[in-house]
């Protein structure tokens, strides 16, 4: 199953790849693969490397998603820092 994963750090795509994942893989599987590839460059408050906690927003095909959600072939997963307002 081929899933596209993008990490947006402030509007622009900073990292992007098509990942081959096993059938039945979840958003969490895709997330962990992205973290193993790129997390050394992610800003503080986005991902805690010690605990593995992610403090941004997860989206699949631009809909909010959670780690346990299943992925389908061709899905696009987006990780982004949480929005702020006032």
């Amino acid at each position: 199953m081929l899933v596209r994963i993008s990490v947006l750090l402030g509007a622009e795509c900073k990292e992007e790849a098509s990942l081959e994942l096993e059938e039945g893989a979840t958003v969490g599987d895709a997330f962990r693969r992205a973290a193993s590839l790129w997390s050394s460059k992610w800003p503080a408050g986005f991902y805690d490397r010690d605990s593995g906690d992610f403090y941004g927003t997860l989206m699949v095909n631009y809909r909010h998603a959670s780690m346990g959600d299943p992925l389908a072939d061709g899905d696009s997963v987006v990780l982004l820092p949480s929005m702020a307002g006032g």
Partner: protein, 614 residues
Amino acid sequence: MACGYAGKILYVDLSGMRHWAEPLDVGLSERFIGGSGLAAPLLFKEAPPGTEPLSPDNALIFLTGPFTGTMIPTSGRHCVVTRSPLTLTWGECDAGGHWGTALKRAGWDGIVVRGRAEYPVYLWVKDGHAEIRRADRVWGMDVYDADEALRTETSRDAVTGLIGPAGEKLVLLASIVFDGRDARVTARGGPGAVMGSKLLKGIVVSGTGPRPSAHHQKSLDQDLKARLPEIVRGGKALNEYGSANGVTGAEFSGDLPLMNWRKGSWPEGAAKLSGKAMAETILTGKFFCGACVIGCGRRVAVKTGRWAGVDGAGPEYESLGTLGSLCLVDDLEAVAKATELCNRLGLDTISTGSAVAFAMECYEKGLITKADAGLPLEWGSGEALVTLVEQMGNAVGLGAVLGRGVKRAAQEIGGLAPEYALHSKGLELPAHDPRAYYSSALSYATSNRGACHLAGLTHIFERATVMPEIGVESPMDRFTGEGKGRMVAAAQNVMGVMDSLKVCKFGLFAGITVTDMARWYTLLTGRETSPAALIAIGERIFNLKRVYNVRCGFSRKDDTMPDRILTLRRGEGGAARGLPPLGEHLADYYEARGWSEEGIPTRETLERLGLDGF
């Protein structure tokens, strides 16, 4: 009366020391929903364009929306509408907390205050009963102390909306603070000064009635039960680290304002002001507004050191971006202290931080001296920040000048000071840089209350948020003007609907959609609607606010942004190269709105929207 509404508004005439109830106009509620939408025709009637903002003739309108008081997520909100003394435009603010819910449960949709009392008073609303009481004992007290005193005098379960010394002294940046120490604030444009001009210290509300029932209660309950888990999930980051979690991401993308909008990058400073830094140092708890399942509120305390004694609501993203990064202050405890002073004294953190940054630049350029300020105003100085906030809240020293807002302060200081005063229509810019998200320039320039990020919240659509209901199917390129005029107009219409129903804008980050809102509106009120129909009401609302401004003399000449934003590149960081092309966008925007080249809604547009009577 449709479900969701209490059906009546409390009118208060402080000059005559009298009050009375009037039924809510059902027809108006159908055409303008509630909240700041419904406040638009009310302001036309109660304080017509041209009304002197600090005169007894101005009206101060507090309104809930039909969702307020229900269990619809993030709906525990209300608005305050008046003619702004800072900008002289339509003035509108929105706050969460529990005051709006208490008012609705007391049996009121809103309160309209006019006139001026002869001595300081507060309004005590206990369910259907209202009373104007003397406030001499609390006049002069800061908000936290007055909250304690008035809840002791009335009911510990009551919720307060209060001004601090800033409002009493008619500081033009004065706010109204709700919920005491868990401060939720209507801040922008100086509503606290209007309240102070009426000698009204506060409105204390206790509502013990039931929550409003829904027309289709069972279906609404089922709908909410099905949607809530996803909204809770979507709001997890906000719950975990508060809106402050946005600081590092905003710095990374070039969105966080730095050094009075002159610097491009500051990762080390942003990390010290982040939600994570707050959680690891001064955070003591979280709080939720009424009916919220996200809970972005922060409680903080500083127990030792220079700023010991801080204990209450912590700084939000906007406060960190203005009192902090805009002044290059990376001392989180100093920013927490400045935030608490703003809450206690009753000041808008955004405008206050902007005024401090302006003063620091004037000091750097020799327009303000150490003797003027009482201390050196070096960039990054927590001491200077806190001192100036205290001066502004008490209207003393240099703070008395800064408290009139950067536009007026620059005129008084003279020289090149107006170049350092960043505002639109006299309202200081919020903490999102239009050079990072081009649509923000247009959105700020055309916002009815002056530079405001919440009136359009358009930068989210140039990042990762989609809204198919307005044609944004995938995120837009943040550095182009393509399609932005239409998008900004549509987004402003949606935000007007949210401000009328009463839904928190953070709900969008958690996945609440316009389609959700339309469905909930129908299930609650029994009024059939659709996303498109709601957005059409949003267009009517936005245009009526614009007409108010046009009648006050505003037009295209005022739909501007500061030169610094349009001509000075950040130079480094995530938005190093961008300059928003406001002029191009403006023409597209006026066309999308059906306005003339001068930015005036045409007769056809007003007729189409049913506004020709205004």
